[in-house]
């Protein structure tokens, strides 16, 4: 444990060196949020009170909470760093020392997220201030607790998806295409671009069988109290199941990859 804690602390220090970088990254990541807010304000200005079950306040809250979820849980640099470690032989250092690469990366990911969130909070606060009268607090205590739990699981889930994509670097020279495919799918299917209940219900139900809605749509819905107790438990269970399955898959692929790695020379 103390090793992982130390890696986390080193990760914080290391990432802090890139805080300016992070700040501008975070700033420009908020551009789509501003666009979405402006768009929904215009749509609701047309006269409708409720669209697809969302009031204007709910809709804007959805995007703000979704952005918060993205800030704290999305994978940014890690995927590319892992792929580079594999390609350039950086993982050798984990293979010869008594340390596991997955745990090592997970600590760094956590540190990354913490710094990123801290840095992004500033511009985020400005947007919150701009829309202050629309922001809804968590529906109730259960929503808040459920939200925090689902947020943590969402981070783990997204890390695993990115980790799996990065492991392709054992076989392909350039993972950016796959990385982009994952990102595009995630954007659409996780509810980052719009709440998934705007979709036809059959499609929504279909998506709920994939891991993507559990990366964003689910935690946001929990926060907003749109998920009842039974669905909350079910959703958390789904997150757990996906995490276990993807972790198992990551282990298998890691060992397969190592076989290739140790075959070609680290």
């Amino acid at each position: 444990m103390s090793t992982h804690w130390y890696i986390f602390k080193l990760g914080l220090q290391n990432t802090a060196a890139y805080r300016t970088n992070f700040f501008f990254g975070a700033l420009f990541n908020l551009v789509p949020l501003v666009a979405a807010i402006a768009m929904w304000r215009a749509i609701f200005a047309g006269g409708k009170e409720v669209i697809a079950g969302y009031t204007l306040a709910e809709m804007l809250s959805y995007y703000l909470i979704a952005t918060l979820v993205g800030m704290t849980t999305a994978v940014t640099e890690d995927e590319w760093q892992i792929a580079t470690d594999i390609k350039d032989g950086g993982i050798s250092q984990s293979l010869v020392r008594p340390i596991r690469y997955f745990g090592y990366r997970l600590c760094l990911f956590s540190a990354n997220r913490l710094i990123y969130t801290a840095v992004a909070l500033l511009p985020m606060a400005a947007i919150v201030a701009w829309n202050f009268r629309y922001i809804l607090p968590p529906a109730n205590l259960l929503s808040l607790v459920g939200f925090v739990c689902s947020l943590a699981l969402s981070a783990l889930l997204q890390f695993l998806l990115a980790y799996l994509t990065a492991l392709l670097a054992f076989w392909v020279l350039e993972i950016s295409t796959f990385s982009f495919m994952l990102l595009a799918t995630q954007r659409l299917a996780s509810g980052e671009m719009f709440p998934l209940d705007l979709l036809p219900s059959w499609l929504n139900h279909l998506l709920l069988l994939t891991p993507f809605p559990y990366c964003m749509f689910f935690p946001v819905s929990v926060y907003m109290g749109r998920v009842n107790a039974a669905s909350l438990v079910q959703g958390l269970a789904m997150q757990g199941i996906w995490i276990v399955m993807l972790f198992g898959l990551a282990r298998v692929i890691w060992h397969r990859g190592l076989r290739t790695y140790t075959a070609v020379g680290g």
């Binding site: 290391n14 350039d88 050798s92 010869v96 020392r97 020379g265 680290g266």
Partner: protein, 355 residues
């Protein structure tokens, strides 16, 4: 079993499949569908045993299979055939107990965190290897003082010189007192002073800590300075295993003999079984086959009022270079007389006008 060898290697073989690209665009297109692979033998049936506390140098030209062998022993590569045991472990199983007891230092890859002071990377290794903190502090002080980088602990790694970085890499690798240390090109790219410091340090460390060291280098001087024993591999095969000095005895067939004659005396050497390299300023330099060495010396001394006589062996480096430049000479061929002459090391031969 109290003194079992630290490293035992039996028939270790490594064959790589390298992708063979056809020339040109058509070739590239073909390669997309049906790749042709060509087996390359990187390490071929190598055998050796290294006792605990030995310092052994792995010598060979680029691509000889040095690093491949080292990586197999560190568990980073699976062999295609053969076995190896290090400290009783099969390296490529990568057991945690094994990883706690050895260290691998790859000259061109680093484990230090680029954007943090070296102290942090060392501390991380302290945690990873679960070194008690008092022990850790003592060890860092001791090692940084020995390598003279104790004032650099708080400098960002990226601001360190190449030599300082290598020294910290070494320290990071030694903190947990590994029983076996694999060093791949530990002095590559270092300036002469740093090379010397690292060498001195390793020599002392090996003597005092009883750590088994296996190092690769293509600098002969590293190995000459550090290792009692040298293993030469060439083209993947074990070529020589023994003391460096033996290489001269075994593989060099020539000596250089220089005699100084009084001014005005011309050498009478038409029938001497030796090759004349140079005759200038009353100095005659001959290249003599070892078998004829005594005979030639006697002839020279009998026939001339020799003022001075100097005998020079071909340097080990010269011999090894000679071995490497001749491609894949099988063991037997070396001893045969068909072997081309060893290049003359010091003076460049000038045409002889006298005889």
């Amino acid at each position: 079993m109290q003194s079992s060898p630290a490293i035992e290697v039996n028939g270790l073989t490594r064959i790589f499949r390298t992708y063979k690209k056809q020339p040109g665009l058509t070739g590239a297109l073909k390669g997309l569908f049906a790749r042709e692979y060509e087996p390359t033998v990187a390490v071929n049936d190598i055998n050796f045993t290294i006792e605990q506390g030995e310092c052994v140098g792995f010598l060979g030209p680029n691509g000889a299979g040095k690093t491949t062998t080292l990586k197999m022993l560190a568990g980073l590569l699976h062999p295609s055939a053969g076995t190896a045991t290090v400290l009783g472990f099969t390296p490529w199983e990568r057991k945690q107990e094994y990883r706690r007891q050895f260290a691998l230092l790859l000259g061109q890859k680093n484990q230090l965190w680029w954007d943090l002071p070296a102290r942090e990377s060392l501390a991380l290794n302290g945690k990873i290897y679960r070194i008690p903190s008092a022990d850790f502090t003592r060890r860092v002080t001791e090692l940084t003082e020995l390598l003279r980088v104790d004032n650099k602990l708080d400098v960002m790694v990226r601001e360190l010189s190449l030599g300082e970085r290598m020294k910290f890499e070494l320290i990071a690798a030694l903190l947990h007192r590994p029983k076996v240390l694999f060093l791949d090109e530990p002095t590559i790219g270092l300036d002469v002073v740093s090379q010397e410091t690292v060498r001195d340090f390793l020599r002392t460390y090996n003597r005092t800590s009883e750590t088994t060291i296996l190092l690769t280098s293509h600098y002969m001087s590293d190995i000459e300075a550090l290792c009692d024993r040298t293993i030469i591999i060439n083209e993947g095969a074990l070529f020589f295993d023994g003391q460096l000095a033996e290489i001269i005895d075994r593989f060099s067939e020539y000596r250089f003999v220089t005699v100084k004659l009084p001014p005005g005396i011309l050498p009478r050497i038409a029938d001497i079984p030796a090759e004349i390299m140079v005759f200038a300023d009353s100095r005659l330099r001959l290249k003599v086959a070892r078998a004829n060495f005594i005979l030639v010396c006697r002839m020279l001394l009998d026939r001339h009022p020799v003022e001075d006589l100097e005998i020079q062996d071909v340097s080990a480096e010269e011999v090894v270079r000679e071995i490497f430049t001749r491609n894949s000479a099988p063991h037997g061929v070396l001893e045969s007389a068909s072997r081309p002459a060893v290049r003359e090391p010091a003076l460049s031969p000038s045409p002889l006008a006298v005889l």
